[in-house]
Symmetry: C2
Subunit: 331 residues, 2 copies
């Protein structure tokens, strides 16, 4: 068997490959390890919960509306820390560069990374650089890893019956924008990536109430994230389509390209489950943050094992876990 | 200006590129940050010294005598933690895979990583997987990052006059073996990579005496590492060529290929500076470990700003900091 593109697309097919890639006997350092397949791992050190996570970034093009590979590299790791409930502290920057790449482009990427670090209150403290021969890589790949500190780690599997499902803003912006840009559609400046570090917003939410489960809906989009949360928590989720925030421009572009905005990556959004008693307070906290102005309560947790969308015309449909994100090299 | 292969070769030329790649204002999380350009960063968390480091691995071929890209990926990060004085705790595994790669090859790589983790007493706790289209990467790249805990962090810049320089074993094995294998030389099974996790050996050394400075001589080899240690410490180093351990097979292959074993990567070795009073005890501790049987005191620290080798015939020559490792894609 050989690897295909869907094996890296964040959906069900990737889950199959992960059985091979996570087959480590040495898979846990005392807290939450690889067995939990969460957004990051938790390592208790002298009573402090250190969260560790990593993401590589292969996005094409490397500069796109709303961001670039540098910004996404910092935000990807910041956001996986944030949805574990961890304040981001320190990140690594590992660049793999093709011979011939322009150094001015690298400077621009570094400046963009620094800007994202500034927004999140984190730092790049160490890194690595490899250069490979022309033709053996198309441009640049950036990996970041990061550590954060979680007073109370939040898992993606903690949903309970009665929890309200909150999304922090409009869905599908990143994936749809990248694809539309690649296809050369001119849809004005409404179609922009949402790539941003969410820690500030998540911090407000954590202070406003209890959060039972949290995840960043990256590759595979909201559909992948919500299904993983439901499956791991052993619950069903009922969603109300009218409450799901999607930009009109994203919806239109998605229809044009035949892509469901719920199945593509977001890079500045959070999905969470909050006990009903805390939901309004958490929602208000999220909305008070610039990144959370379009936040919405979009559904609730019930018994069962499905994700069901109640449509605006009164029907119901399943939101299936996607095989994978339909946009290649989206992050 | 464009990036060339020497920009990734671990020597003086790479130092130039690093000025651009490390130009972060957000470069420190409270301890030792990017400004120190050490093997890893130190982040004090509630009185515990967390060490964070990362390395990407692009070695070709991916399976080579003595190891493979999986083993080197784990050892690279373990060893940068070890030479910071840190016990390795938890690692990340981030794989970037070309479409078409065989899944059985991935399984073999994962098993090799697991074996190295076992030897080091560490775990892979989280990771990431990206797949890119056929032709946009030649096979596989693996990044690992890792955290460790240092009771007393050891820098690469702490050499003091009178310190004895110890190397933990023969130099040049990894780089010379990789190159000889690529060139198709058949030199028997003496030419093998030394790739191994050094923490167990370093732990014994740390318990046996004081270590003023320590580094793993990877890209650019011993010549790059010792020059960096001397420069950062503001000292000179006098080496005794007769004491420098180099395998005869490595020496011969190096001569055949016109490559200096002192300028190529080692992946299971340590260079350290130890106060004279502790040198014999530390040496004995290192030699008591299977990886340290060929350890040797090879020189001493004096005032000045050079690295000088006293040759066996009574002469002296400078060991210059190399422009870069002469073997491309060595790790
Ligand atoms: N090569 C790998 N080795 C070990 N664990 C892996 C590897 N690839 C992924 N994982 C683990 O599988 C889970 C899913 O990984 P994934 O990268 O999809 O998560 P994510 O970072 O939250 O999403 P995204 O990468 O789309 O931002 C995580 O728990 C991750 O640690
Ligand atoms: N892209 C980068 N961004 C930030 N820091 C970097 C980057 N590349 C290298 N560095 C820093 O530069 C210094 C030298 O890096 P280098 O990778 O040569 O160290 P090393 O890992 O000890 O050696 P090797 O990679 O050969 O094993 C380190 O302090 C590292 O943190
Ligand atoms: Mg995530
Ligand atoms: Mg992620
Ligand atoms: Mg490195
Ligand atoms: Mg090092
Ligand atoms: Mg290294
Ligand atoms: Mg990931």
């Amino acid at each position: 068997m050989n690897v295909n593109l869907m094996h890296g697309a964040g959906g069900e097919v990737m889950g199959e490959l992960l059985k091979t890639l996570t087959a480590f006997k040495n898979n846990n350092a005392g807290g939450l390890g690889l067995e939990s397949l969460d957004d990051g791992a938790v390592i208790p050190v002298n009573g402090t919960n250190i969260v560790l996570t990593t993401d590589s970034h292969v996005v094409r093009p490397i500069f796109f509306p709303g961001g670039d590979i540098g910004r996404i590299s910092v935000c990807g790791t910041i956001n996986d820390l944030a949805v574990m409930g961890a304040r981001p502290i320190a990140l690594t920057s590992a660049m793999i560069i093709e011979e011939g790449f322009e150094i001015s482009g690298l400077a621009r990427i570094v400046a963009s990374m620094d800007q994202a670090l500034e927004e999140a209150g984190a730092a790049i403290v160490t890194g690595d650089t490899k250069v490979v021969e022309r033709g053996s890589l198309d441009g640049i790949i950036i990996n970041t890893a990061g550590i954060g500190i979680a007073d109370r780690p939040v898992r993606d599997s903690g949903l309970r019956e009665g929890d309200q499902i909150i999304v922090s803003g409009t869905l599908g912006d990143h994936g749809i924008s990248i694809l539309a840009y690649r296809e050369g559609f001119d849809l004005g400046d409404q179609l922009r990536s949402d790539v941003a570090p969410v820690w500030g917003m998540v911090d407000l939410a954590l202070r406003a109430g209890e959060i039972h489960a949290m995840k960043d809906p990256t590759r595979g989009g909201f559909a992948a994230a919500i299904n993983e949360m439901a499956r791991k928590s052993g619950v069903s989720i009922l969603l109300d389509e009218e409450q799901v925030p999607i930009r009109q421009s994203v919806r239109s572009a998605g229809e044009l390209m035949g892509i469901d905005p719920l199945q593509v990556a977001n890079e500045g959004k959070v999905v969470m489950g909050v006990p009903a008693a805390d939901a309004e307070a958490v929602l208000a906290a999220i909305r008070s943050h610039p990144l959370g102005r379009d936040a919405s309560i979009i559904g609730e947790v019930v018994t069962g094992s499905d994700v069901i969308m109640r449509t605006s015309i009164g029907g119901e449909r399943f939101i299936e876990p996607p095989l994978g994100d339909p946009v290649p090299r989206v992050c």
